[in-house]
């Protein structure tokens, strides 16, 4: 699991302004950087057909639970266009723009994975 679970609660809704908290994005950035470029293996995965709010332009998309070399595991979206996933498949962690809630708020960047 990624360290420090509290920091990962990026998607806390602010009902008043429907934006990601800029402070949370800023805190998260420094943790994310450590994972960029790391390689891992797929433990399990699924293809999401019915996505949550505002993500309908992305679906369907694959999400994989991966394990990186020090046995840390986490779930990451798989980048678009890779359909042949398998148990133990190698992936690399890349920087991508995350789902944006609004046109006003700070842009949230995060990590996804690409099968190698």
């Amino acid at each position: 699991m990624l360290e420090d679970p509290e920091e990962l609660q990026l998607l806390i809704f602010s009902h008043h302004r429907n934006m990601y908290s800029p402070v949370k994005i800023w805190r998260r950035q420094r943790k994310l950087r450590e994972y960029l470029g790391k390689k891992g293996k797929i433990i399990t995965w699924t293809k999401i057909y019915t996505a949550g709010e505002g993500r309908s332009s992305e679906d369907p998309y694959n999400v994989a639970l991966i394990e990186i070399d020090d046995h840390t595991r986490f779930s990451l979206q798989v980048i678009h266009g890779y359909e042949k996933l398998d148990f133990g498949q190698e992936v690399k962690i890349v920087l991508r723009k995350l789902h944006q809630k609004s046109h006003e708020g700070v842009i949230a960047y995060g990590i996804k994975c690409i099968p190698l």
Partner: protein, 335 residues
């Protein structure tokens, strides 16, 4: 000696064929690809933007360079993620550069990066910066759907580091030619750029810059092993090369636009990435960018003996591609 010490590039895997776009608009694909000299272009996914691509290109460029030695980050784009908020520092953060660097973003249509490159050279030459400057050109360009520009506007990023140690391409000289020509522009609040049709400063400015450079340095076109001209389509660079006295062999390796489209601020640096794999020691390289509005930066580099240490195999890299259809294209571009 000051010059380029490393480089990197990123071209998204996704491609859309000119034919696919043309068909959706009821036009004949071969007519358009024929007249533009573009068969397909590279498209960034919905989760990519100028920043994420800049990161990939920079990551490649910084493979053997200590990140803490970067003292300047300059990012040129026509599609910065924010109107106000620098791409260069977001990039610096994700690259792990630390805090001891200066940063600025530039915009100047397709020549946003080359202007910053020349400035970077100046900072290193004057020793105001002792180590490296990172210069990146990156764009996820689009034209208004259905507009001719939409066939060529593409996505890519390319990065160079400027320094004085282990230089692979020595900076020899440059000449810039600038004026005010409203041939391509975008007002606040507009989603797409507008343009004056065939009205362009491309030929006059590149001529002005290159001729100024040749005159200043005493070089002749035949002295150059390679020339890379900005590529708004597949025809213009061929035309300008010929009118300036360069032959087809000098430019042919750089004409990535046919398969990748015009990646705006990244364009000439992507062109450089394409030729650099076959450049030999002492080869002279001319780069002539063009930014609408307008201006051209013509720069001469000379390959050093270290050039062979950095072959990044651009041509096999771009062979890995996935075709997308027009609907996916619209999703990717956020339209």
């Amino acid at each position: 000696m000051v010059g380029i010490t490393s480089y990197g590039f990123y071209v998204p895997r996704y491609r859309i064929k000119t034919e696919e776009i043309a068909n959706r608009w009821g036009k004949k694909g071969t007519d358009i690809s024929g007249s533009l000299g573009i068969n397909e272009k590279a498209v960034a996914s919905f989760d990519e933007d100028a920043l994420t691509m800049a990161y990939e290109a920079s990551d490649m460029a910084l493979e053997h360079i200590d990140r803490k030695s970067i003292e300047g980050i300059f990012v040129g784009s026509e599609t910065h993620p924010y109107l106000v908020n620098p791409t260069s520092t977001i990039l610096g953060e994700y690259l792990g550069i630390g805090n001891a660097y200066q940063a600025f973003d530039t915009q100047f249509a397709c020549k946003a990066a080359t202007g910053a490159l020349i400035t970077g050279v100046g900072l290193v030459k004057s020793e105001m910066i002792k180590n490296h400057v990172l210069v990146v050109g990156t764009d996820k360009a689009s034209g208004k759907p259905g507009d001719p520009l939409d066939y060529s506007a593409a996505s890519a990023a390319a990065a160079v580091t400027i320094g004085s140690r282990n230089v692979i391409l020595e900076y020899i000289d440059s000449f810039s030619y600038s004026s005010d020509i409203p041939d391509f522009w975008r007002r606040h609040g507009q989603s797409y750029p507008s343009h004056g049709g065939r009205f362009t400063g491309y030929f006059s400015h590149i001529s002005g810059a290159v001729q100024g450079l040749l005159s200043k340095t005493g070089y002749k076109p035949s002295d150059f092993a390679r020339a890379i001209f900005h590529m708004p389509n597949g025809k213009y660079p061929v035309k300008i090369a010929s009118s300036l006295g360069f032959n087809h062999d000098q430019i042919k390796d750089s004409l990535v636009v046919t398969q990748l489209g015009n990646s705006y601020a990244a364009c000439v640096l992507v062109g450089l990435s394409a030729v650099i794999d076959t450049v030999k020691k002492n080869d002279l390289i001319l780069i002539a960018s063009y930014g609408s509005g307008a201006g051209s930066d013509a720069i001469v580099f000379k390959a050093t003996n270290k050039i062979t240490s950095q072959r990044k195999h651009f041509n096999s890299y771009i062979k890995e591609k996935k075709y997308i259809d027009y609907t996916t294209y619209l999703k990717f571009m956020g339209l």
